[in-house]
């Protein structure tokens, strides 16, 4: 492995959260962005081809080393680590709406889900999956919510645009709905 790949590996191992490309580049002032990208590829390949128990993934605006899914059960059985609780349908629906419509106010989320969403919004906010991004103009100036980088991490995706576009969904909204 190249010295840079080793340095990146050390930094990624030392962190439980993803590290941004900029922070990785800042590890060594002499390297270019291309060299960092190359070293990340080298590290990923090393993990994949030498058959490691961990893998390198890009998520939530950064890079992170995670264990491979095949070992999860054994690790959990041995009580060395445990998986976070699964999100309920209500939480996922609320997240789905906020992810696609952000910034969006509580009233609009409730209109789409057809139920009161106060408790769910609170839980999502406490888990830092959503945040208050500001307030809308107009009547009552309601608070607006958006998703956070932790939301992307929760899904292990790099960016919101990795989710299917609204017009790619099987049930496309008819234009009338855009009122």
């Amino acid at each position: 492995m190249s010295p840079l790949a080793k340095l990146l590996e050390a930094a990624l191992f030392a962190s439980s959260a993803p590290i941004s490309r900029e922070s990785l580049a800042a590890l060594d002032s002499d390297v270019t962005d291309d060299e960092v990208a190359g070293a990340l590829t080298e590290l990923r390949t090393q993990y994949d081809e030498s058959g490691h128990g961990v893998e390198l993934i890009e998520t939530g605006g950064g890079w992170q080393i995670l264990t491979r899914a095949e070992f999860t059960d054994a690790i959990e059985r041995a009580q060395l680590a445990s998986r976070p609780a699964r999100l309920s349908a209500a939480a996922l629906e609320t997240l789905a709406i906020i992810a696609y419509r952000q910034p969006i106010g509580r009233a609009e989320v409730e209109e789409i889900r057809g139920v009161n969403c106060g408790a769910i919004l609170k839980s999502l906010h406490e888990r830092a999956l959503i945040e208050v991004t500001g307030r809308a103009e107009g009547m009552g100036r309601p608070l607006m919510y958006g998703t956070t980088p932790a939301f992307l991490e929760q899904l292990a995706i790099r960016h919101l645009d990795e989710l299917p576009r609204a017009d790619e969904l099987a049930v496309a909204l008819r234009p009338a709905a855009e009122a």
Binding site: A14, L66, T67, A96, I157, A166
Partner: protein, 243 residues
Amino acid sequence: MDRLGESAFLVQVGEFSGPLDLLLTLIRDEQIDIYDIPVARIAEQFLIRIKTLGLDDAADYLEMAARLIRIKAQMLLPRREGEEGWDDPRAELVRRLLEYQQVREVVDVLDRLSEDRRGKFARGYMPQQFTSPAPAAAPLALSLPELFAAVDRVLRLAKKPTIHDVVPRALDVEGAIAIVRDILALRQSCRWRDLVSSGSQPWEILSVLLALLEMAKRGEVKLRQDRAFTEVEINGEPASEAA
């Protein structure tokens, strides 16, 4: 088990995540065309289901039931023959169902992605090595969400929402009178400084002042000040002891 909010977050309460979910399930079960919902039948089924599921006290479900009944009534209104501009009373419901269906489709995607992620662990062991503070020259990162979260914490600290409003504390003149009496019972005379310590709150000072004025008026004490800005001397009136 049933911690409010938390439980709704982790475990779905009941079989359905809301009235739209229930409605969509009915439509699927009955193999109905979503653009041509037989509202009378669906409304009836909806009512039966919320009763059997014990959801008939949930406001969100009741509201939907009421909506269905309203649409059913509107469908029964006579339509003029060949009328062009007839607004299907079901249009809004159909729009919402389609929109909700779209949400459910996204939910499937999110569920799959988060299940994949749940199956992988991040680094668990964190040796304490990065503890040095950021250099003072570092740019400051402060965001609205951070500020709002801090407001939230402050509100959480304040158990009652209005507890920290500055409420003028009621003066305790009776209490101050009792204190002055106690002191004068020990010694014949005292000074202002003996009654009011430097750490006294404004309400305490005012209470003592009013107490003295009140007692002087009743003839219980005699107040004397030799010159302006000198200490006020408070003398108990022997006569008052009889009173």
